[in-house]
């Protein structure tokens, strides 16, 4: 299996809330982001996924986001939002492929795929949304509080699966988290958004 080394870099990225963000996340690196609510963390992820209009450049592995189709780009930079949405009645049609091992890592058997979405608890939906995203094989991950409201056991499972995916696929991670212990466990660098700019938090 050929591994593509992906580096995600933002050059002078500006949105309604953010000004001139410059940032490079290396292949397999985990960068954590925190900041007061409403400061623009989620907007930053949306801009990188090209869901909101913005100025500046976003590159994955040197490829400018405007030079590929939006579908291709969004598949490359997988965005996991805080609230997951499902549009088919059962889970299976949402998954382009199924990695049994990943399901097992989050405590699911593959029979869960036949379940109706309406039967799932919000915690289950949250974990399954991560599995769905990974099954689309993104080259970079943008994670908006993937372990919020989960118990510590499930949080750890999610953390280790994401880190493993990142290692195996050399995927850069941009991870929004408010949990200081979690940040110190997973982050190689930690930034805070203050007044529309990035400020590095040194531990």
């Amino acid at each position: 299996m050929g591994i593509i080394l992906s580096v995600l870099s933002l050059q002078n990225l500006s949105t309604a809330l953010l000004r001139d963000i410059n940032l490079t996340i290396g292949a397999g690196e985990c960068l954590c982001l925190s900041g007061a609510s409403g400061c623009g963390k989620s907007t930053l992820l949306r801009a990188i996924a090209d869901l909101d209009s913005h100025q500046g450049e976003i590159l994955l592995d040197g490829i400018e986001h405007n030079s590929v189709t939006p579908q291709q780009w969004r598949q490359w930079v997988g965005l996991l939002t805080a609230e997951s949405v499902w549009w088919f009645d059962t889970l299976r049609p949402h998954f382009p492929l199924v990695e049994r091992e990943w399901f097992a890592a989050l405590g699911f058997g593959v029979e869960v795929l036949e379940w109706p979405v309406s039967r799932l608890s919000s915690g289950e939906r949250q974990r399954l949304a991560l599995l769905r995203l990974l099954c689309h094989k993104p080259r970079a991950l943008l994670l908006d509080e993937p372990t919020a409201n989960l118990d510590s056991e499930n949080s750890e499972r999610i953390e280790s699966l994401i880190l493993r995916y990142s290692r195996e696929h050399a995927a850069p991670l941009l991870w929004i988290s408010h949990n200081h212990e979690q940040i110190s466990r997973i982050a190689s660098r930690h930034f805070r958004i203050v007044d529309g700019g990035l400020q590095e938090v040194l531990s």
Partner: protein
Amino acid sequence: MSIITLDWLDVTIASGLVIALALLSFYQRLALERQILIAGARTIIQLVLVGMVLKALFSDVRLSWVVLMATVMLLVAGYEVMARQKRRLRGVWGYGIGTFSMFITSFTVTLFALLVIIGNEPWYQPQYAIPLLGMMLGNTMNGIAISLDRLMSGAWQQRTMIEGRLMLGQCWQEAIGDLRRDALRAGMIPTINGMATVGIVSLPGMMTGQILSGTVPVEAVKYQILIMFMISAGAGFGAVIALQLGAKRLFDERQRLRLERLQSVD
């Protein structure tokens, strides 16, 4: 068999029915009497005016008059489509998409019927062209208005779902596909139901009118079938075009959902 003409006294007697209804509303305190009387008065004024316009059109058959009349009908129908949407596109799009789709389908189908099926001389003879176009516009207007209203309010409500689909790498057509199908179904169901129940539950006004004016029923039936098919095609194709244009306008060149292009009207 010849038609029994109504004189204005007959019409006045008929208006007594509406006045009785208004009186009922007054005594029952329904507070509808004002609306009933105004609507009744509008019926008289609008129909008398259109009667005079048609009389003039029929006596002086000219293409330019027919085109003028058709244009006015189209513009009014376009306004009606726009006014019926609770959330509509800003700017010229809110009016333009519905009107353009109606223009394309109603005019094409009516021209097709006039030239290929009816084939009279001249083809724009207003006695055929104007009523046919009027029935086309009336029904196409309904189909398009319902479809666009569904699409726009649905997009507003299902924002997270549409964006969730985009995030996983779906193209905009896929992301809004379910919604577009729902909107099209909603717009076409009245037409389909109309085709399915005509003659059993309801006798269409046009056919009834022809029969009243002395046409043998079989001839009236043939016209009615022609009309039903024209209406269905017009409403269906019109809704498809309007939904295609409307859905496309909800996304920009990078396939981002742009709901700020909608405005809500209350």
